[in-house]
C-alpha cells in the first residue's frame, strides 16, 4: 500500500441515468493513492451510485472511470481483474450465509487469486484477527452480530490485498453500539495508508480519517475540501444547510 500520492482513481465527467432519472450529472473526481476520501450528502444525491461506478457495479451512461491506469467500460474484458483490486464493503454486509466466516474470506482468494487452500486459510485467520474476531472463524454469518458481520465483510475484502477499499454506508444498518467497532477497524485501516473511498453519515469518522471530504447533492459535487474546511467553513448554502441538519441529530 504505497502512499505515493499518484492518482489511482480518476473519474471524468461521469453521467449516470436510471431510466429517465439522472443520478449523476457530470461528476469528476481524483483520488490519490493512500488517501481517504469521504463522500457525504443527503440520500438520493448520487453518493452510492458514484461509489458503485468505481468498480462497475453500476455502468456509467457517459464519462470515464479510470482505476489504476485502466479504463473501465462495457468492453473491458479485465473487469474481474480490476474488481479484485478494489475491495467493497456494503451497507447490508452481503456475507455469504451458506459459508462460515473463514470460508467467506477463503473462497475468492481460491477462485480469483488461485491461492492454495492452506495459504488462503492462513490469510483468512490473519484478517479475522486484524478485525478483532479471530475466534469467530468457524461461525456462520447468521450467528454473528451486525458489527461482527461487517467486520468479516471487511476482512473478506482485505484478504484480496486490494489497492482500494470502497465503503458504501458501512455503519448505516448497524445498531448504535456496534458502529464504533466497525469505525475503529476502518480508522486503523486509514492509518495504515489504505486508499479508501467512504460513503457515510459518520461525521466523526470523516473528521478523524478523511484527507478530503466531498459534499454531493442532486447528482453533483457541490463542494470538496479538507474536513476542517468543509465542516468549519462551508462555502455553499446547500452544504451549510445539510451540515446544520446533520449536526442537529
Amino acid at each position: 500500500m504505497s502512499a505515493d500520492g499518484s492518482p489511482i482513481i480518476e473519474i471524468r465527467d461521469l453521467h449516470k441515468y436510471f431510466g429517465k432519472v439522472e443520478a449523476l450529472r457530470g461528476v469528476s473526481l481524483t483520488v490519490e493513492s493512500g488517501k481517504v476520501v469521504v463522500i457525504v450528502g443527503p440520500s438520493g444525491s448520487g453518493k452510492s451510485t458514484l461509489l458503485r461506478c468505481i468498480n462497475h457495479l453500476e455502468v456509467e451512461t457517459a464519462g470515464e472511470v479510470w482505476v489504476d491506469g485502466m479504463r473501465l467500460n462495457e468492453r473491458n474484458r479485465n473487469i474481474n481483474a480490476i474488481r479484485a483490486e478494489i475491495g467493497m464493503v456494503f451497507q447490508l454486509f452481503n456475507l455469504f450465509p451458506h459459508l462460515t466466516a473463514l470460508d467467506n474470506i477463503v473462497l475468492a482468494q481460491r477462485v480469483v487469486r488461485h491461492r492454495s487452500k492452506d495459504e488462503a486459510r492462513e490469510i483468512g485467520h490473519r484478517q479475522l484477527k486484524r478485525v478483532g474476531i479471530a475466534e469467530k472463524a468457524d461461525v456462520f454469518p447468521g450467528q454473528l452480530s451486525g458489527g461482527q458481520q461487517q467486520r468479516v465483510a471487511i476482512a473478506r475484502a482485505l484478504a484480496m490485498d486490494p489497492k482500494i477499499m470502497l465503503f458504501d454506508e458501512p455503519t448505516s444498518a448497524l445498531d448504535p453500539e456496534m458502529i464504533k467497532e466497525v469505525l475503529d477497524v476502518m480508522l486503523a485501516l486509514a492509518k495504515e495508508g489504505m486508499t479508501m473511498v467512504v460513503v457515510t453519515h459518520e461525521m466523526g469518522f470523516a473528521n478523524a480519517a478523511a484527507d478530503k471530504v466531498i459534499f454531493m447533492d442532486n447528482g453533483l459535487i457541490v463542494e470538496e475540501g479538507s474536513p476542517e474546511q468543509l465542516f468549519k467553513q462551508p462555502q455553499h448554502e446547500r452544504t451549510k444547510l445539510f451540515l446544520s441538519q446533520i449536526l442537529h441529530h
Binding site: N80, L95, F96, V111, A153, M160
Partner: protein, 290 residues
C-alpha cells in the same frame, strides 16, 4: 373470569375444585387454562388419522394379496414391472434435473438469445399435455432427430423415447423451480461475489446456486414423487412399467378389480414412502440451516 366460565364445560373439575372462583389465584389461572389446549384434545387433533386410514387400506390390500389367490396372482404379475417404473423415473428425473438447471440458468441469463430460447422451451412444453408430448416425442421428434443425425429410428427403444419425453416435460417444470430459486437470492449476493473479482459463472456456482438449490430442494423432492406417478403415462408406448403390466394382466385374465387395486396400492406405497423421505430431508435441512 369469563374466560374461566367459557372453558368450564371442558374443565369442570378444576373449576369446581378451585377454592374461591373470585380469588386472585383463580383469575390468574383462568386465562392459562383457556390458552393451553387440553392435552387429550391436542393429541387427538394433532394425530395423523389420515395416515392410519391409509395404512389400514394398505393392510387390507396386503391381506387380499396374501390370502386371495386372484390378488396374489395379480400382484406377482404386476410387481415385475417395478424395475421399469423405477428405472424410467430415475433416469428421466436425472435428465430433467440437468435440463432444468441449464434452462433455469438460461431463464435468468443476461444474453437475450439464451433467455428467449429458455423461455420458448418452457412455454412450449408447459403448454402441451404430458400425454400428447409423450406421443409427439416418441413418434415424431425422436424419429426426425434420429433421421437427421443418421440413426435408424427403429433402433431406439420405446423406453428411451419415454425417458426423453418425461425428461423434457419435467425439465420445463424444473427450469421454473431453479429460476425461482435463483431469483430468491438477493442481488447483494451477486454484487458481493462480483466485487471480489469472481466471474458471473463463478458467482453462480459458488454463491448463488448452493443457496438457491437449498431453497428449492423441497420442490425438487415433490417433483420426484410427481414424476413417479406420471411415469405411468409411458404405458401408452407399451413400455412394460407396472401400469402397462397391470393392463396386460387385466386384459388377459379379466381380473380388472384385482389388477387395478393392486396397481393403485403399489403406487400409493411408493409415493407415501418417497413423500416421507422428502419430508424427513426437508426437516433435516431446516434444522441444519438454523
Amino acid at each position: 373470569m369469563q374466560i374461566g366460565l367459557c372453558t368450564a364445560f371442558i374443565k369442570t373439575k378444576e373449576f369446581i375444585l378451585s377454592p374461591d372462583p373470585l380469588s386472585e389465584s383463580a383469575e390468574r389461572a383462568a386465562p392459562s387454562l383457556s390458552r393451553q389446549p387440553d392435552p387429550w384434545t391436542g393429541r387427538i387433533s394433532g394425530f395423523p388419522w389420515w395416515l392410519v386410514a391409509i395404512i389400514l387400506v394398505m393392510a387390507w390390500g396386503a391381506y387380499f394379496v396374501f390370502v386371495t389367490e386372484d390378488y396374489r396372482e395379480a400382484f406377482e404379475f404386476i410387481v415385475r414391472g417395478i424395475s421399469i417404473t423405477v428405472e424410467t423415473t430415475v433416469y428421466a428425473y436425472g435428465f430433467a434435473l440437468v435440463i432444468g438447471l441449464v434452462m433455469g440458468l438460461g431463464r435468468v441469463s443476461r444474453n437475450l438469445l439464451i433467455r428467449n430460447i429458455a423461455r420458448f422451451y418452457v412455454e412450449v412444453v408447459r403448454g402441451i399435455p404430458i400425454l400428447v408430448l409423450i406421443f409427439f416425442v416418441a413418434f415424431v421428434a425422436t424419429v426426425d432427430v434420429a433421421t437427421m443425425v443418421g440413426i435408424d429410428p427403429r433402433g431406439i427403444p420405446m423406453t428411451t423415447r419415454a425417458v426423453i419425453a418425461l425428461a423434457l416435460t419435467y425439465g420445463a417444470f424444473m427450469a421454473e423451480i431453479f429460476r425461482a430459486g435463483i431469483q430468491s437470492i438477493g442481488i447483494g449476493q451477486m454484487e458481493a461475489a462480483r466485487s471480489l473479482g469472481m466471474s458471473y459463472g463463478q458467482s453462480m456456482r459458488y454463491i448463488i446456486l448452493p443457496q438457491a438449490v437449498r431453497n428449492v430442494l423441497p420442490a425438487l423432492g415433490n417433483d420426484f414423487v410427481s414424476m413417479l406417478k406420471d411415469s405411468s403415462l409411458v404405458s401408452v408406448l407399451a413400455v412394460r412399467d407396472i401400469t402397462q403390466v397391470a393392463r396386460l394382466h387385466a386384459g388377459s385374465t379379466f381380473r380388472f378389480r384385482e389388477s387395478y387395486t393392486v396397481l393403485a396400492l403399489l403406487y400409493l406405497t411408493m409415493t407415501l414412502v418417497l413423500s416421507s423421505v422428502v419430508q424427513w430431508l426437508e426437516r433435516r435441512l431446516h434444522v441444519s440451516r438454523r
